[in-house]
């Protein structure tokens, strides 16, 4: 996906509930690059309103919750111009889904 992002001059930021050490583990496992933010207290996730409301303290007593997997495309004015979220958490925005969106909205 890096060549695609470079082509359209897009900066990638990821936000997850991983801790800093878990982020580094993920980098080693999957060769991930880019700015990856550790949000294990869901501070950023709550600012965007993306916490999964179904995960209450009963279902997840040892964690503050999880986000709904979501991808946002933001233009240079800071406005969200595309949002990809799904009920199926296993389906995530992969390059095949993002590329046509970038070509359509940022060309």
């Amino acid at each position: 996906m890096r060549p695609l992002l470079d082509e359209f001059h897009v900066t990638l930021i990821t936000v997850s509930t991983d801790t800093v050490s878990e982020i580094n583990l993920g980098r080693k496992m999957h060769g991930l690059k880019g700015t990856m933010l550790a949000d294990n207290k869901l501070k950023i996730i709550n600012q965007f309103g993306l916490k999964n409301q179904n995960l209450n303290n009963f279902r997840m007593p040892f964690r503050p919750g999880l986000p709904i997997p979501t991808t946002l495309l933001i233009d240079h004015t800071g406005t969200v111009i595309w949002k990809d979220d799904t009920n199926q958490y296993s389906k995530r925005s992969d390059p095949e889904r993002i590329k046509p969106v970038l070509e359509k909205l940022l060309s």
């Binding site: 897009v10 982020i23 999957h30 309103g49 993306l50 916490k51 279902r59 999880l66 997997p69 933001i74």
Partner: protein, 166 residues
Amino acid sequence: MIPDHLTSYIKPQPTLKNLYLLIIHNMCAENSCADVGGQLNLCEMNIGILALAIVLIPTGRWFWRAWKVDIPSSPYLFQMSWAAGLALGLLANQGGAESTAANWAISLALVLLYLSFTGAQKVSTSAIRVGDKIPHFEGIDGDGNSFSSDTLENKRIIIKFFRAHW
């Protein structure tokens, strides 16, 4: 084939208990009828272990695929396996003598089925939408350094929110 002395259990009222005896008879040794108590308990234990295996194997498979970041898109086969394990576990305990393995199978299957059927994601009414400005945010990056969204000013950005590395 059902021995003649067992047919009375089946006719004229096929109840759950009679069905259970029929299944047990067919799953156990042919002459188990002669020693009903001991053989039935052994069969119930075996069924309980089978039930637990039917619950645990797909569960292990699910977590293995989650570890590989290849979570199955459809939970139906897993739900069917858990339901089958639940049914077998209940069947194993029908005879009166409870099997530890069957109890574990029943408990785990109930929890897994509950989680799988109620796991749909629910978004907040205040979730960010297309057309909204993103809020100012700050955090810690993977190197332990502070990060501020001010550094993203006038840039095109993709922000990906995901659960965790698992």
